[in-house]
């Protein structure tokens, strides 16, 4: 974080179809009905609670995952978006997440797990996801899991606020 400008860099990752772009656009108050699968990445800079958030949303297709590492540098916060209704791929989801957390360039980053699509019937709840994704094994990062619905916008603010406050606490003590 560049402290003078209170700038925070947030990287949003997750499997394809998790809802990353929808979260970004909904949070920014944009129309979400025309979103296409992300070919490459989106970047948005928003002002929130006195911070300047640089949000990077990188496509989650298998063929794009090897490019994720190009975005790791200087990341203060990592948002991992999970489609809680896509139970078939939760194992993939867990594998990708744990590979990511071993990455040295992300070692300082705070992790927020968004359990998206909570409004769909049959979606996993937080406890199930925590278990399936083995979140309690994570000791290397400050982490937090919260459910949300990108379509309705529920809990997006709460999640981002937690992320920002954790990053702010961490960075200011290091100064």
């Amino acid at each position: 974080m560049k402290q003078k400008e209170k700038e925070i860099r947030i990287l949003m990752l997750g499997l394809d179809n998790a809802g990353k772009t929808t979260i970004l656009k909904k949070f920014n108050g944009e129309d979400i009905n025309t979103i296409s699968p992300t070919l490459g990445f989106n970047i948005k800079t928003l002002e929130h609670r006195g911070f300047k958030l640089n949000m990077w949303d990188v496509g989650g297709q298998k063929s794009l995952r090897s490019y994720w590492r190009n975005y790791f540098e200087c990341t203060d916060g990592l948002i991992w978006v999970v489609d809680s209704a896509d139970k078939r791929r939760l194992k993939d989801c867990k594998a990708e997440l744990h590979i990511l957390l071993q990455e040295e360039r992300l070692s300082g980053a705070t992790l927020l797990v968004f359990a998206n699509k909570r409004d769909l019937p049959g979606a996993c709840n937080i406890e199930e996801l925590r278990d399936i994704l083995d979140l309690d094994e994570i000791k290397s990062h400050h982490w937090h899991i919260i459910w949300c619905s990108a379509v309705t916008g529920e809990n997006l603010l709460q999640g981002i606020d937690w992320l920002i406050s954790d990053i702010a606490t961490r960075i200011f003590t290091l100064d």
């Binding site: 009905n33 699968p37 070919l39 139970k87 791929r89 194992k91 094994e137 003590t173």
Partner: protein
Amino acid sequence: MQEKCDRKIEMLTKRDLERKLDLQKEQEIRNLTNADNEKIDYFESVFNEKRQFIADAIDEAHNIDIDKLGVHFNNISRDILILQKYLAASNIFLRGYDIKIYQQVLQNLTNQARDLEDKLLPKKKFGFKNKKSQKIDIGNGINGNRKKTIDEVDSCAPTKLDAFEDLNAVSDRSDTNLVLSNSQIFKKDILLSKLNNCKIKLFGSPSTLHMNYLKDCYIFCGPVSTSIFVESCENCTFVIACQQLRLHSSKNINIYLHVTSRAIMEDSSNIFIAPYNLEYENIQEDFKKSGLDGCSNNWTAIDDFNWLKLDKKSPNWNVLDEAKRIEKWSSFF
């Protein structure tokens, strides 16, 4: 003479005033430092007390049952986090050097706790396991025959049995014709999986549709309000409408498509696209309920993740010849 005297007095008064002001300023500064010192002293005692508490907890770990150790270490890391927050909140009045020292103390505690945890609680190895699992078919009695299946070694194996409890799925079937009405699928997340030579008609508006491991199938579906996700399908025909289409690792597929944003494909080939032409009773009503725009169809807007050249179209997909298109599906119903 009088004038000289006056000037002298004036000068003296002025000096006296300055002296008093200086004194006052000094006093203020002293008070401020005292307050700061008090704050610093207080912080130091609280911090040390907490630090000792955490250090004791770490020592205590040796005498704790292994099944309670996980919780114990979680408490320790939580306490360290709280202490770190306290330090962060106090950094306004602490000296830079002290902050560094305190930060070091916290780092040492974290390292100690982690090292000890690694020693006492060997980490669960993370890896892919080939689990045997029994699939439960639920969802309005869609699936009658319950089979025990051993999943192949692939990344799509279900992780948890209970994770499938309330999924609406049609799976592990051959040579089946099936019609589902809107009341069975409306706003639901529908999964079609491991089907051979089946004809499935979803006459309604689900929230999302997942299709994987389909072979020689015909799938008809009303407007899907969000996305359709296709993986590992072969020799199929899909007549589908959605906001987004994501097609992965599939080949020889004809898609009669209505897509309001865009479609993408990855690791797929021999894909032929035609415009959506499904008709059934109440389809217009289903479009309304789904929120999908029936008028905007970008069926030729397909991005191939394995073909990044902009000037040339991907060879992996093509528009289906009009002569080869099926115009009416009624013979299939």
